[in-house]
Subunit: 219 residues, 2 copies
């Protein structure tokens, strides 16, 4: 089989691939180390030698998927000189392309949130990192539009958290669609366009000092 000649990092990657698939399919408790070893084409003792325990294996999966997701979003928003709407569009398409391509990874991160500490902490740290990235993007857009004072730093941070929550919720929703009704499921680009349409006009208005105002009928 040639396993002996594979470098450790390649075998470890196979283990993590198999583990992400198993944790996504069965959940943390029900996923079996036997199944993971078999799918990775290695012995169970080797999995324990490399990853120590089921808990550490799950943590390694969570960290890998967090890293991959953050890297995808960072790569998407790299073009700093571009207009704000293009940067946001690039970030959203990168995010949804990533979550569509790695549905098991998204499910593992979702499960990690509901699996208790310290896994939930890793996902929370990831959200802070992405929200900080989006906050800086929106802050830059506000400065470009010359509206430092109109759009307070606090509101920019709020908007960034709204956007991150919306993106996260849409990614789960579109992956559920892809699983349950694949023929009518939206593409990553369509999902990105939905969110862009949902939020861009509002952001654009805010950046230009235009606000939605409740009418007198509205309480």
């Amino acid at each position: 089989m040639g396993h002996k000649r594979m470098p450790r990092e390649v075998r470890e990657r196979h283990m993590l691939d198999a583990a992400v698939a198993a944790f996504a399919r069965h959940g943390y408790q029900a996923a079996s180390m036997d199944e993971i070893a078999e799918a990775a084409g290695v012995s169970k003792p080797l999995v324990y030698l490399y990853l120590k325990s089921k808990e550490e294996l799950f943590m390694a999966c969570v960290r890998r998927e967090v890293g991959a997701l953050v890297a995808a979003v960072r790569a998407g928003t790299r073009e700093r000189g571009a207009p704000a709407d293009q940067q946001l569009w690039n970030g959203l398409t990168a995010f949804f392309a990533h979550t569509a391509a790695r549905p098991d990874g998204v499910t593992v991160l979702h499960r990690a949130r509901t699996q208790g500490e310290p896994f939930a902490r890793e996902v929370a740290a990831m959200r802070v990192e992405v929200a900080t990235l989006v906050t800086s993007l929106l802050g830059q857009a506000a400065r470009d539009a010359g509206c430092d004072s109109a759009l307070a730093e606090r509101e920019v941070s709020g908007l960034a958290h709204a956007l991150v929550g919306a993106a996260e919720s849409l990614a789960e929703w579109s992956n559920t669609q892809a699983r349950t009704a694949p023929s009518s499921a939206p593409s990553a680009r369509e999902t990105a366009a939905t969110l862009m349409n949902f939020c861009w006009s509002g952001l654009h208005n805010l950046l230009n000092g235009e606000r939605w105002v409740p009418t007198s009928r509205v309480h």
Copy 2:
């Protein structure tokens, strides 16, 4: 003390109030049944008599907070004949007023998501219920605007999930602000206005068949 003369439902409410506060402050594992009984002004055996176990007590807290949140949003969006932006504004102000008034309840629901099944399932069911309510509101708005075909049912559902995720994320964010920097924390109305500004212009454009379109520079 007069406890003997209190009806069971009043004593049970005191227990749940104390339990929500304790679970929010310490988390599920660290919250102590002694502390909960003491704060509720009852004996620990009475807590066990009424609520059976710590697990069932936590579940009772989760169910109560889910019910209260859904009821608040339903009450806010009751005015069916009103224009779509007013209904959405009413729903958002009701939601953020509720989450600001009951920060411990929000924390308990957040903890429930990360506390494993079956608690996470209760919160997931609540999200589905609220998303369904928002989907029907947006669908009604789309029909009022005469754009059945332009805004496909699938996209309406996606938009609703984006809105729910954004609202949830903003509620957590603004409660964190209120806890860590109370003097500069946004009011419920300000948070609702932030989200309304964020999403309404976009929704309004979508309802009128206007879309954000990537320029040729955008990949």
